[in-house]
């Protein structure tokens, strides 16, 4: 089984979000980048398929040279090879089109991406990848088993979960649950050394156009101070929620 894990290079969850150039660009100053958490759950599940079922695992990212440390980290965790599509990730559809070419050229059976990236939260790349390649698709996936050509997956739905049967080729939109937080692997020194020798192939982009462009950014208006209510005066809280906030 050939697995491709899509890796998005995103600001760490604790990053301060600021913009530059007249609020048209994300300010990368001082920002630490990580593997998108939803992708990391998928990568860790892919390691299980590699170790238990003999799968090969490649990772891919669409981005500039600055994203290579993130791909190297994925190699240090245990992926066999990395691919970087040398293009700026401008929007989800363009990224999906670039990835679709990689998936088709590489003949991958299973593609695991995060259900969404934690920066732009588009939540569209895995679905579009399925639409573009014709592979089956399960998103918000919290459990995945593969047996030969068949797959059993559990996806989170609003208010519960759903177990589905499907088959390869398959695209998964993964999230926490594919593996637990405690299953995530911190690369050790041996992994980091080996990652340096693993192939990181740079491929030319297909040249997909971006159709949705963020022209400018805004930050939410600053919030007023909290109104504190005394713990012995619950009636006052109910009064405020009813008469002032009008939410009950």
């Amino acid at each position: 089984m050939k697995i491709l894990v899509c890796i998005s290079h995103v600001p760490d969850t604790t990053s301060k979000i600021n913009f530059t150039d007249g609020d048209t660009k994300f300010d990368t100053n001082g920002v630490q980048y990580v593997i998108n958490p939803n992708d990391e759950f998928g990568l860790t599940r892919a390691m299980w398929f590699k170790e238990k079922q003999g799968a090969s695992v490649d990772v891919v990212n669409v981005g500039g040279i600055e994203t290579e440390p993130t791909l190297r980290k994925a190699l240090a965790i245990g992926a066999d090879a990395a691919i970087r599509v040398d293009a700026e990730a401008k929007d989800g559809f363009a990224v999906a089109k670039e990835l679709a070419k990689v998936v088709i050229d590489g003949g991958y059976d299973l593609v695991i991406a995060g259900r969404e990236s934690i920066d732009y939260n588009g939540g569209m790349v895995p679905g579009m990848l399925s639409g573009l390649t014709g592979a089956n698709f399960v998103t918000n996936c919290i459990s995945l088993e593969i047996d030969g050509n068949n797959a059993k997956a559990i996806r989170e739905i609003d208010g519960g979960k759903e177990t589905v049967n499907t088959s390869l080729p398959l695209v998964i939109g993964g999230q926490k649950g594919l593996v637990e937080e405690s299953d995530l692997r911190i690369p050790n020194m041996r992994g980091i050394m080996m990652a340096r020798k693993k192939p990181l192939n740079i491929v030319e982009p297909a040249g997909a156009n971006a159709d949705t462009i963020a022209n400018s950014f805004e930050k939410p208006a600053p919030k007023g101070a909290v109104k504190l209510v005394d713990a012995d005066n619950i009636d006052e809280l109910i009064n405020l929620l009813h008469n002032e906030a009008k939410v009950i």
Binding site: D119, S216, E218
Partner: protein
């Protein structure tokens, strides 16, 4: 040329988010000088969509579509959009709508923008405001494709009633092979979900253990609220992943969010910041959540919550 809207239903009944999407589509259609066509799949109350601004409903009744399937549903909406020559299509941010939207975008070759929170600020160029960086910012995004697909953030636009009625037409699209079949569904019956709730009551590690969740559930019941939890609580296995809200969990965009025993990590606050009114109850006055909340009580949840629950029960009984 009309604005097409997918109106999601559950057990034959239209969801509130569907009515919000119709209200939103109507606002766009008015500016474009056109009308709203809704597509409903196995809904029994499709005729009510006129109350929110739909002029026409393409009403699909087909047992093969009884259980949700992203690929099949996307193909149905695609056929409706093509039949109507729709240039703008709108759907909600429910788990199912977000599942099918990217497939629909590919089918329609449409630029898709999700988590949209406002009416377009301009039609030419077509610019919508969406959340980004998990609610830490907004991005004004231009869609340059001929057909535009908008995923509306739940509870961002509101329901706007409209005078008029919709003509309901039978619509019999081709149902394609699904590739994914449902084996079983595990869903609490009669429980409000985080996505649909007007009020969410959420518990953190301050509750000390899963055996104390009765406090959260009782308060939620009085308020007709959904229950949620912080990331540590789900990581510890006290509550299911499905209740975890925050940056790597579910987003919450509700009218009232009550956080009990949650300190307010930046990732949690990002995930819930689209909620309109936030209340925090925590023993630690230094907890970061107090900076993000509208109302706060510094106090012990084990003392405050039972009193709050009883008083709200009395309040609800009086104001029923």
């Amino acid at each position: 040329m009309s604005v097409l809207v997918y109106t999601e239903s559950e057990n034959g009944k239209l969801k509130k988010a569907a009515l919000e999407c119709v209200s939103y589509a109507k606002a766009i259609a008015d500016e474009m000088g056109t009308s709203v066509t809704a597509v409903a799949i196995n809904a029994n109350d499709a005729d009510t969509l006129g109350n929110y601004g739909a002029s026409k409903v393409l009403n699909v009744k087909n047992d093969a579509l009884n259980s949700f399937n992203a690929k099949q549903y996307a193909a149905v909406i695609e056929q409706a959009a093509k039949q109507e020559g729709a240039k703008v299509a709108v759907l909600s941010s429910s788990a199912d709508s977000k599942y099918l939207a990217p497939l629909l975008a590919v089918g329609l070759e449409a630029g898709y923008v999700s988590n949209v929170v406002e009416k377009p600020s301009s039609l030419a160029p077509f610019i919508v405001k969406r959340t980004a960086f998990t609610n830490k910012a907004f991005a004004n995004t231009e869609i340059s494709t001929d057909v535009k697909l908008i995923g509306l953030s739940n509870n961002s636009f509101g329901l706007i009633e409209s005078e008029g009625s919709a003509s309901v037409e039978d619509f019999s699209p081709l149902v394609i092979d699904s590739g994914v079949s449902v084996d079983s569904v595990d869903k609490a019956v009669g429980k409000v979900t985080i996505a649909d709730a007007d009020v969410v009551v959420s518990g953190g590690r301050g509750l000390k253990g899963p055996e104390n969740w009765g406090l959260i559930e009782n308060l939620a019941e009085v308020l007709g609220a959904a229950t949620a939890c912080s990331k540590p609580v789900s990581d510890l296995g006290w509550r299911s992943h499905g209740e975890h809200v925050g940056q790597t969990g579910k987003p919450v965009a509700t009218n009232l969010y009550i956080a009990i025993g949650i300190s307010g990590a930046i990732q949690h606050l990002a995930g819930i910041s689209a909620s309109k009114v936030k209340v925090v109850i925590n023993t630690d006055p230094e907890a970061p959540f107090f900076k993000a909340a509208d109302y706060g009580i510094v106090g012990d949840a084990f003392e405050v919550i039972p009193v709050l629950t009883e008083k709200l029960k009395a309040f609800k009984a009086q104001n029923a």
